[in-house]
Structures are given as structure tokens and as C-alpha cells.
């Protein structure tokens, strides 16, 4: 009988079976049905599976579920609060920073993690933080614009 572990996803506590080698990505998608987090490569190269663990952007396909025990996990589904979009989600829509949208959750989570630790990132800081996220549709310039726009929105909402 395997012991279970507890993980906290988007402020909700879940009891999960920590099979050895089981990835956090699989737990989120296949067990908790949080399918906003995507599979793209399985080797931490594309960023589609990005989630926040204790506020830091991590690749959930490279994270064992057991390693997430007791940590605070935020997925794309957790960014919207009481029907209000996260400023970066709003900014993605305003900047039209998506085409097929498949990379978008990973991009937004990476960008949100960046904004949380650096509220006013420069263009090169944005590119540095998001270099590991791939958009095959090629919307990179718009994504950079969206992150900048979200930084301005946050500034305005604080001011």
C-alpha cells in the first residue's frame, strides 16, 4: 500500500500517490485534471509545462511529484482570482500575444513568476527569464510587449 503525499495546488490541498518517477506534470494533468499546464517536450526544453512552486517558475515535466510535497504550487488555472484575470493574462489578450495558444499558459506562468520577483523587468531581463519557453507560432515580440504592459498595469494599480 503506497503512502500518499499532500500537495497544495492553487490553494487546494490534494492527496496523491507518489509513484516513483511520476512527474508533477502528469499528476496535474491526468489526476487533478488541471490541463492548462501542457506537455511539449518532456525534457524541460520548451516551457509549455511551466508552473510556479513557491513562487518560482519550474518545469513540471522535470519535477517529480514527490518533490512537490508540502510546497505551494500555482498553475495557470490559479492565476485568475475571483473571475479577475492576472494582469499578465489581460496583457496577453491586449497585446494579442498568442496564435494557437498552446505555449501561452507556460509563457504566462513564466512571465508572472518573473514579475513577482522583478516588477519592472527590462527587455533583456524578460528575454533571459523566458528563453526556455518556445512559441512555435513566433509571437515572441508580442509576448515581450505583454510582459511590459503587465508591469505597467501593476504599477498603475499599486499607484
Amino acid at each position: 500500500m503506497p503512502r500518499t503525499i499532500e500537495i497544495v495546488v492553487n490553494s487546494v490541498r490534494h492527496s496523491i500517490d507518489p509513484e516513483p518517477d511520476r512527474t508533477l506534470l502528469s499528476v496535474l494533468r491526468d489526476e487533478l485534471d488541471l490541463t492548462g499546464t501542457k506537455y511539449g517536450c518532456g525534457e524541460g526544453q520548451c516551457g509549455a509545462c511551466t508552473v510556479m512552486i513557491d513562487g518560482l517558475a519550474v518545469r513540471s515535466c522535470q519535477t517529480r511529484a514527490a518533490a512537490a510535497a508540502g510546497r505551494r504550487i500555482t498553475t495557470i488555472e490559479g492565476l485568475e482570482q475571483h473571475g479577475r484575470l492576472h494582469p499578465l493574462q489581460e496583457a496577453f489578450l491586449e497585446a494579442g500575444a498568442l496564435q494557437c495558444g498552446y505555449c501561452t499558459p507556460g509563457m504566462i506562468v513564466s512571465g508572472a513568476a518573473l514579475l513577482a520577483r522583478n516588477p519592472n523587468p527590462s527587455e533583456s531581463e524578460i528575454m533571459q527569464a523566458m528563453q526556455g519557453n518556445v512559441c512555435r507560432c513566433g509571437t515572441y515580440p508580442r509576448i515581450i510587449a505583454a510582459v511590459k504592459l503587465a508591469a505597467q498595469k501593476r504599477k498603475r494599480s499599486v499607484a
Partner: protein, 696 residues
């Protein structure tokens, strides 16, 4: 009554009590299920039917062959539009919604599109070839305009729809051109309407195929051979079968598993012991000489206009160059995926495909069941770029589901996507040409081996031309890719035009304009050059400017590239200006997004993407080995839209990619004096040096 006549009078379909003819969806009581309201069916002529509503290979099917699309206005005013086109990120869902809103006068929010569902939408050959805008947009506008004519005047909100359709479902058929609004009168089309369903995508709520979950659904994996063209000699599945909840399928060359978790499926497929047999196969090292071997039956023919020999005799400078283009992969971020469910002998498949009806046919053939028993549904998908025309994942998932007796989801791994999909064809292009002392091209001979015919013809005004495509024996599975061969052909043509300009001693933009009569082509060249400040800005040491132009699929494009070369580092694209003209612009922001995306995607194929293979194996089937453009590769991008409201709208998802590579190659020449004729320009593999010419 036959519905196959190309000329149908609209009045014939103005019926008060439902349609008199036998739609297959009528047979299923579809119109009744709509709960009344107004239905307008848009018909197209037979000639157009090949693309949308067409009947190739539709034997035994009972859907009238000329239906392009139809729309339904519910008794409460909600509008549902049914089209077989699909959404893969090109924002067709938005542009088609705009088209309906424009003609109907309905708010965008009241219109919902049902797309790519073989059960509910009319037959459509597929979403490719930049056809949605020139073909489906007019069809929907026509239907919407006809629907509007059935409604009382006044604002949408004031209409009592229940009253209009008080005697049941009001049905009308429309054919012919109709009278859609002129582009100058557009109010909704021509504006930057935001992406429909964008909110679902930024919140992670949109369900792609790979996100679909059904009760009792299992997870599939397919056993792949180590090499292409392998035969399964034997399979020992005893260990896999011992894993709890695992179903193993071995059917001819197909072997796969279904299990209760993805983890168990991976373990089970890993536990299959297979013996494969295969023959030695070629490698990318000999690719370009291999591609010069003719395919069986290819006679190496070319079309000649005027006389090449005469043109060469008149030339002051003669040139001969060979260009090569490597195989590249689409690498859509959502790999191929399918969820299949059998209920009795009826099959439902969710899958990401650009051809839902094509996949339906593939499934019918694979399982020997009628197409009517198969429903293929395509949720808006994680991109395609021409790479999702086929139904492998659908067939595999359906085969596993049939054996397991439960629904099965199959998501290809990245490695499978890089290996078992198909590639953009590699090619060799040989050009022979001559230019006179006035800088006029006198002779143009152009032979494309294997990569294809799209964009093969030149728009330059050259009296003596000989142009041919030659089919070759090719080593990898190859197929459509955004822009098809137009990228290879524009690369060779526009680099060669630069070589001729250099030989003639004429500035590259002036050289192109001097050899052109086509005013639309000239206009995009000038638009890109003006924005770039071509001829006004001087390139600093180590930088170079390049220009290229082209035409394909009804639209014109020109690009200017700025390159920076620092010693010891690969050349870097620092700025791209691209002008694009596709008639009347439907959605300026989404069009800009497509052009920007084409530039970024085009950079990969131009600079570093190449599929490396050897003896039936792909050597770089991962993002860690196959480099795709990332944030740091992205130059400053400036898009100039040339909006021609006097011209019909053409598609825009493909053509903006074709000038990226030649503009960059020409800029590298300007910066370094080195003429690169091989894509990718930085070499075909990280372990191999870049070749300055094609090594054949």
C-alpha cells in the same frame, strides 16, 4: 431532386417547413434538434467543390456536394455558424466570425462557430493552402447577407427572432456571388477584432485534443521501430501483459498498449520485446546527391518560353548556381494527439488535424467501416503549419480503443512527433541565367529537384525562361509545410537575382524594379524598402542589408533584413522589415501577428533548422538537439501592411514566410562578401561547418 447541378436558383430553397431534400443531417433530425429559427445554407459551384464542400473520394456519402457552410439563427437570436475549416492559431475562427457579423449586423458575441466536426459541419477538404480567407469568408458572407435579408430592418437587438420563425424552421439556400458589402463599407471586417476564445486560452481552460478526458479513458502508447521501413518479425508481450490494467495490441505491423495511467502505458510499451528487420538506408550526408536521382517515371522535363540559348547569347554576364534546402520539421508545440471512443460499431475521434474529413476517410479505410459511422472532431489545436494533414494518431488511438473496449487517449511524444510525422521536403535547385549590359535579365533556367512546384514561376519580366520541377527518389516521409516549396523556390530565385545584380553592377532593389512589370510586386518592394530606409541608411562595418520579394497564393511580400556579423560568432539578424499585400485586410492586428510569426518561424529554417538522419534514424528528434527560434533569436520586426481595399482578400498564413531566408542570405553577402546558397545558412548540423556553396 438532384443537388449536383452547379446552377441552383436560390428561390428553390426558400422553404417554410424544413428542407425538401435529403440532407444527411436532416435525416438525423438535425434541423429539428436546432429548435426552430432560421437556417441559411451556402452552396458553391462544382468547380470550387474540390476545396470546400467537394466530393473527391466521398463515395456513398449522402451529403450534397456543394454545401460550403451554413448558419443557424436561434429563436433567441444566437447565431451558430457551421464550417469544416479548423482553427490552428491562424485566427480563422475570428476572421470568419467577423465576416458573419459584418453581413448580419449581429454583435460578435452572439456568433459562435462550430468548426471541423464531421458530424455537424459540411464537408471540407481541409484547412491549408491559405484558402479560408479567399473561399470560406465569401461563402459565409453570402449566407449571412441572405439571412439578414430574411430579417426585418432595424438593429439586431430589436429583432423578434421567434416571431420571424414562428411557423417552424425557416430554411434558405444561397448560391452565386450574392451582394456582400464592399471593403470600403466594412465596419467589422477590416478592424482588429480581438481573438475569439482568447480568454479560454490565457486561462488554460481551452481543451486541446491532448486535454480531452472521457470516463474510463485509458492512455495509449505505440511501439515504434528503431528505424524507418522496418518489418516486425516477432513480438513478445508477456511482460507487458503482466502489468495490471494493460491491454496489448499486435495487429500486423502495429503494436501498442493501453493502460490506466500514462506512466503504466510507458512501462508497458517499454516491456514489449520486439524484433524488427530493416534494410540499410541513406543519410543526410549524401542527401543532395541522392535527390538528383530521378523518381521512377520522371523525365526531367521543363517548360521553355522563348529560348534559353538565345537569351544566354545576348547576355553580358552568365551565371550558374546550385542551391540546397534541408529537411525541416514542423514541430508544432502540441504533438499529434487523438482520443478515440467506440460505441458499438460507431467511432468518435477527437484529434488535432487540418483535415478532419480526410482523417474520417483514413479511419474508414483502416477499420473497413462506412464514413457515416465515424465522427471526427477537431478542437482548436496547438498549431499545424501544414504538418497535421494526416491521421496517424487517430488511427492508432482508435485501434487501441477497439481492443481495450474503452476510450483511449494517445499523445505522441516529442520524439515521435519529430520522427514519425512528415517533413518539409529537402531540395536542390539549379539556376542558369544571363543578364545584359543594361541590367536586364535575358535568360532564366530554373530546375527544382524534389522540393516542389509552389512559387516556382518567376514574376520577373524575362523573355527567355525554362522552368521545371523534377520528382526525385527521396529518403524521408515528406509533405506540406507552411508555404510549401515557395520558400525553397524564393530562396533560390531571390538569392540568384542578387547574384545577377552583383554581376551587372546594379543596386539590388533597383535591379529588381528594372526587371519587373507587376505593379503589386513593385509596390511591396518599395513599401519594405521605404520603411527600412533602404538606400538611405549606410551599413556600418560588420553589418549588411539584404532584400527579397515574392508572390504566392494571391499575395505579395517583400522583406529587408539587417545582419550583424561579429568575428567568431554566427551572423545575427538584428532587424527585419516585411511588407505584405493580400488585398483587402480583414483583421490588421491578426494579419500583423501572422506576418511576425512567419518571420520568426522562417528564421529557423533560414538559419539553423535541419533534420539530421542516418540509416533510417532521426539523429536530432528533440528540442535539445533540434534548434527552433527562441526569444534571443528574434530580431526587431517591423511589418508594413499594404491594404488594398479594391482587391479581394487573399489568405495570409503562409506567403509571409517565403522572403525571410533570401533576405537574410543577401544581407550576409552584403556584410561579408560570402554567398551562402544552402539552407540552413549556418550549416545543417551543429557538428558540421557551414558550407558556403552547395556541396554536391
Amino acid at each position: 431532386m438532384s443537388l449536383n447541378k452547379p446552377t441552383l436558383e436560390p428561390e428553390r430553397y426558400e422553404l417554410r417547413e424544413g428542407p425538401a431534400y435529403n440532407f444527411s443531417f436532416d435525416r438525423r433530425g438535425f434541423f429539428k434538434a436546432l429548435g426552430g429559427g432560421i437556417v441559411v445554407v451556402s452552396f458553391i459551384s462544382k468547380a470550387r467543390g474540390q476545396e470546400s464542400g467537394g466530393g473527391r473520394g466521398r463515395g456513398g456519402r449522402n451529403i450534397p456536394q456543394e454545401i460550403a457552410a451554413w448558419l443557424h439563427i436561434h429563436r433567441n437570436g444566437a447565431v451558430t455558424v457551421y464550417t469544416g475549416k479548423v482553427e490552428v492559431g491562424q485566427n480563422a475562427r475570428t476572421s470568419l466570425t467577423q465576416a458573419v457579423a459584418e453581413e448580419l449586423g449581429a454583435p460578435l458575441g452572439s456568433i459562435e462557430l462550430v468548426m471541423g466536426d464531421t458530424e455537424r459541419t459540411p464537408y471540407d477538404m481541409g484547412t491549408f493552402g491559405s484558402m479560408t480567407t479567399p473561399q470560406m469568408v465569401p461563402q459565409l458572407r453570402k449566407a449571412a447577407a441572405a439571412a439578414r435579408a430574411m430579417l426585418p430592418d432595424g438593429p439586431w437587438e430589436s429583432i423578434n427572432f421567434a416571431e420571424v420563425a414562428k411557423n417552424g424552421t425557416l430554411v434558405k439556400g444561397v448560391t452565386g456571388a450574392g451582394k456582400p458589402k464592399q471593403a470600403v463599407d466594412w465596419k467589422v471586417m477590416g478592424t482588429s477584432v480581438p481573438k475569439v476564445h482568447g480568454r479560454e486560452m490565457v486561462t488554460g481552460k481551452h481543451r486541446y485534443t491532448s486535454d480531452v478526458k472521457l470516463p474510463e479513458m485509458l492512455y495509449g502508447r505505440v511501439l515504434r521501430p528503431e528505424k524507418f521501413d522496418s518489418t516486425l518479425v516477432s513480438l513478445d508481450s508477456s511482460a507487458a501483459k503482466n502489468i495490471a490494467g494493460v491491454t496489448v495490441v499486435h495487429d500486423g505491423e502495429f503494436a501498442g498498449v493501453a493502460a490506466t495511467t500514462p506512466h503504466a502505458a510507458a512501462a508497458a510499451v517499454g516491456a514489449l520485446k520486439a524484433e524488427w528487420k530493416s534494410q540499410p538506408q541513406t543519410s543526410s550526408k549524401t542527401l543532395f546527391s541522392d535527390l538528383l536521382q530521378p523518381a521512377e517515371g520522371d523525365r526531367r522535363q521543363a517548360n521553355e518560353t522563348g529560348s534559353i540559348e538565345k537569351g544566354l547569347a545576348e547576355a553580358a554576364h552568365k551565371l550558374e548556381s546550385t542551391y540546397t534546402v534541408a529537411y525541416i520539421a514542423h514541430a508544432p508545440l502540441e504533438p499529434r494527439a487523438a482520443v478515440a471512443e467506440w460505441i458499438g460499431d460507431k467511432l468518435t475521434v477527437w484529434t488535432g488535424t487540418q483535415r478532419p474529413f480526410g482523417v474520417q476517410s483514413e479511419l474508414a479505410q483502416a477499420f473497413h467501416i462506412p464514413e457515416q459511422n465515424i465522427r471526427v472532431f477537431m478542437p482548436d489545436t496547438g498549431s499545424g503549419y501544414g504538418g497535421k494533414h494526416t491521421g496517424e494518431a487517430a488511427i492508432e488511438a482508435a485501434r487501441l480503443a477497439k481492443a481495450a473496449g474503452k476510450p483511449v487517449k494517445l499523445v505522441w511524444t516529442r520524439e515521435e512527433e519529430f520522427t514519425w510525422a512528415y517533413f518539409r521536403p529537402a531540395g536542390v535547385i539549379r539556376v542558369r541565367s544571363g543578364v545584359d549590359k543594361n541590367g536586364r535579365v535575358t535568360a532564366w533556367e530554373f530546375h527544382n529537384y524534389n522540393s516542389g512546384t509552389s512559387g516556382i514561376n518567376t514574376l520577373y519580366d524575362i523573355p527567355n525562361r525554362k522552368i521545371g520541377f523534377h520528382a526525385s527518389k527521396y529518403p524521408l516521409r515528406q509533405g506540406s509545410y507552411r508555404g510549401l516549396a515557395a520558400t525553397a523556390n524564393h530562396f533560390a530565385r531571390e538569392v540568384h537575382m542578387d547574384e545577377l545584380a552583383t554581376a551587372a553592377g546594379v543596386e539590388p532593389l533597383e535591379f529588381r524594379l528594372r526587371n519587373l512589370k507587376d505593379e503589386r510586386f513593385k509596390a511591396v518592394l518599395r513599401a519594405a524598402a521605404d520603411r527600412f530606409e533602404w538606400g538611405k541608411r549606410k551599413a556600418e562595418a560588420g553589418t549588411g542589408f539584404g532584400i527579397a520579394g515574392g508572390f504566392e497564393k494571391g499575395s505579395y511580400v517583400a522583406a529587408c533584413a539587417e545582419i550583424r556579423c561579429e568575428s567568431g560568432k554566427p551572423p545575427r539578424v538584428v532587424r527585419m522589415v516585411e511588407s505584405f499585400e493580400c488585398g483587402a485586410v480583414v483583421n490588421p492586428d491578426h494579419l500583423k501577428n501572422q506576418v511576425e510569426g512567419s518571420i520568426v518561424q522562417g528564421l529557423g529554417g533560414a538559419l539553423f533548422e535541419a533534420v539530421d538522419f542516418e540509416d533510417g534514424k532521426i539523429l536530432n528528434p528533440r528540442f535539445s538537439k533540434y534548434r527552433v527560434p527562441r526569444f534571443h533569436d528574434t530580431p526587431e520586426i517591423d511589418v508594413v501592411l499594404v491594404d488594398r481595399k479594391d482587391l479581394p482578400s487573399a489568405g495570409a498564413g503562409e506567403t509571409p514566410i517565403v522572403t525571410v531566408a533570401p533576405a537574410i542570405a543577401n544581407a550576409i553577402f552584403a556584410a561579408t562578401g560570402e554567398r551562402l546558397r544552402s539552407l540552413p545558412l549556418m550549416g545543417t548540423s551543429p557538428t558540421r561547418p557551414a558550407a558556403s556553396g552547395a556541396a554536391i
